[in-house]
């Protein structure tokens, strides 16, 4: 996916998410809609800023942008999104702890392993991805074992769409970054480049689906029976 196409995808996702907010598609998802719009706007700013920094800074190092926006802010926002999805106080508490750990590991990582301004902190990305995957699985568990949303059409729930794309995107991110060192050592650089391209393609799809997700209650309501 070319960089411009990727940026356009994020922009379209953000605009559609904003339009869902303006047209008040479903009031019960208003807060989540605001959050997802913020995520998309943040990703857009991140990508734009990183490109600016890359082109205009002396060494072309834009890791600080990806670290601050892509890891700390974005992962925190996704975890806050999961806090909105889960109603149980225990889950909310667990998510708070996960966010606290993200920053705690961030400090440790920045001091001892991957300085925030110099290297992309992929250990933290692996941690963040793992948290998102685990909370996505918890969501599916709640849907099927606790009978949450039993009276609704699953496709009409924006959370389902967002969590499904996040689950796939972060699964691939987790696999790529967990095997990153191994792939580089094994001299699979061409494969690494292709995998990053693939990851970007999935990111584009993710942001697009996230933008459309809040139209799901209107599009899919009543498409199959509700009890």
């Amino acid at each position: 996916m070319t960089f411009n196409l990727y940026l356009i995808t994020i922009l379209v996702g953000a605009l559609i998410s904003l339009s869902a907010l303006i047209f008040k598609t479903d009031r019960q998802y208003k807060k989540a809609n605001i959050l997802i719009f913020s995520v998309l706007a943040l990703v857009l700013i991140q990508e734009y800023l990183s490109e600016v920094v890359k082109n205009y800074s002396a060494n072309g190092n834009n890791h600080i942008i990806y670290n601050i926006f892509g890891i700390y802010l974005l992962n925190s926002l996704y975890l806050i999104f999961f806090k909105m999805v889960f109603r149980s106080e225990l889950m909310k508490k667990r998510i708070n702890i996960s966010i606290a750990f993200l920053f705690f590991f961030g400090i440790i990582d920045s001091i001892f392993f991957q300085p925030v301004t110099k290297i992309f902190q992929h250990y933290l990305l692996i941690y963040g991805s793992l948290m998102i995957i685990l909370y996505s699985i918890s969501f599916y568990y709640k849907v099927f074992n606790r009978n949450d949303y039993i009276n609704s059409n699953l496709l009409s729930i924006p959370y389902f769409w967002i969590i499904t794309v996040l689950f796939f995107y972060y699964s691939s991110t987790f696999l790529i970054w967990a095997s990153f060192s191994f792939l580089l050592k094994a001299d699979y650089q061409a494969l690494v480049v292709s995998l990053f391209d693939l990851n970007r393609l999935m990111a584009g799809v993710t942001y697009l689906v996230m933008g459309f997700a809040f139209y799901a209650p209107k599009v899919f309501q009543g498409k199959y029976f509700t009890t």
Binding site: F168, A190, V193, S194, L198, L201
Partner: protein, 252 residues
């Protein structure tokens, strides 16, 4: 941008594969969810039928009990008053005539009281707290044993069906205690805890072995009844140590 054709092919193939996997995943989720919904709907229908059956059963039992009580009252009370009236009016002097008139008035009053018990509307009117106190008073008046009532509730709003089931369970528990336990003291406690109602019926009687299967049926009935109104029953009993039944009913 992927300039190498091999990379481009890789990207397209993987993209298509991942899309297919994702679509398959979503379809599988939706199908599984639909199955869950169908199962849940069947379960709800079954629970609704069970609930209606229980309510009907409870109403029937209360009606039968009321009718049997009325039959007994007609025979032992009104019948006796009318027989006495007949005997009194056999000697038509003014004093007997006045006594006969008083007896007839008493019979009319007794019949009116009885007629009120012929329908279940009293369940709507009666307060659970008053009902428990009346039942315990009856036991105490009969001289069977001492009773004690304890509650932290001043005002309790329950739906008619919930009240009906609770009333029936309380009656059944008290009857069982009187029939089998030989207690010296029956304690009933009605407490409002955070988000549920706790009703405890306790006696210091003979107790029984809770593992004994022969006692299981009555207990099963009680349990299924309280479950139909969303509650839960807990039983604790030991031989010679008495029995304690706890009913927990969450507030909607």
């Amino acid at each position: 941008m992927s300039s190498d054709p091999a990379q481009f092919v890789f990207l397209i193939t993987s993209g298509v594969l991942i899309t297919l996997v994702m679509c398959g995943f979503i379809v599988a989720m939706v199908l599984f969810h639909r199955q869950q919904q169908i199962r849940n709907r069947q379960k709800m229908d079954h629970m609704k039928a069970e609930y209606e059956r229980t309510i009907l059963g409870v109403e029937k039992e209360i009606q039968e009990q009321t009718l049997s009580f009325i039959g007994q009252e007609l025979h032992d009370n009104v019948g006796q008053i009318l027989s006495l009236t007949k005997l009194t009016l056999n000697n038509p002097d003014p004093e007997n005539f006045s006594e006969g008139k008083r007896l007839i008035n008493q019979a009319i009053k007794e019949v009116r009281t009885l007629s009120k018990r012929l329908n279940l509307d009293w369940v709507k009117e009666v307060k659970l707290l008053d009902f428990i106190q009346q039942e315990l008073q009856k036991i105490e008046n009969s001289g069977f044993c001492q009773t004690q009532f304890d509650s932290n509730i001043t005002e309790l709003e329950l739906e008619k069906d919930q009240k009906l089931v609770l009333i029936r369970i309380i009656q059944e528990c008290l009857n069982n205690t009187m029939k089998h336990a030989e207690p010296k003291l029956i304690t009933v406690s009605l407490q409002q805890k955070n988000d549920f109602l706790e009703l405890m019926i306790k006696d210091d009687g003979k107790g029984f072995d809770v593992e004994d299967k022969s006692k299981g049926m009555g207990l099963h009935n009680l349990k299924s009844r309280i479950e139909t109104i969303g509650g839960n029953l807990q039983l604790f009993s030991k031989i010679n140590m008495g029995t304690e039944i706890k009913l927990l009913l969450p507030f909607a």
